[in-house]
Symmetry: C2
Subunit: 119 residues, 2 copies
Amino acid sequence: MSNVTKLSDKFNLFQVPWHPKIVGELNDSYVKLAKLKGEFVWHHHANEDELFLVIKGTLVIKLRDQELTIHEGEFVIIPKGIEHLPVAQEEVQVLLLESKTTLNTGNVQNERTVEAEWI
Amino acid sequence: MSNVTKLSDKFNLFQVPWHPKIVGELNDSYVKLAKLKGEFVWHHHANEDELFLVIKGTLVIKLRDQELTIHEGEFVIIPKGIEHLPVAQEEVQVLLLESKTTLNTGNVQNERTVEAEWI
């Protein structure tokens, strides 16, 4: 049994920013949705690349040597080991593709660290 | 160095349906874009799950026991081993997420089999 997942329906199920939710799994990856608002924390993922596809809004991802601006309908892949700081001036809706082992704050564990749950 | 990839720019680079193009890689996966038009062939992927996210148009995926209709902003994940037949009455633009080992026609090798190339 396969199901069709409508992104906008899923985004309506949660509001809190920086708490990614799992909406699908394939192979060794999770598909997650997140709302982002404000500034996150500098971190990197030692062993996992991470994809950000912007569904709504404009996301800035600061790297140590450049700044990426990602609009609706655009994506970036942050390679493993690369420090990054997501910043959302206004609320941004993103689809994330990550290894099942990826923690939202990567190498950093602090009050922003959350375990993703299925919705 | 990370780059922002704009889906619509990439879709403008090719026209031929059923020839997925690689636009990104992360971990053991490729992000691919494809235009679909008409009916493909029944096939399955023995070892790999496959994600279809519809960017434009309406995609039907027939399974042996159900039929999925996927609109813009919706996705499905076809688990490994499940036979499926994508059908696009009008042109559909999809983002695919697949293992690097995935062949477009899965277990079937015929004139529809193509090697995905980077764009």
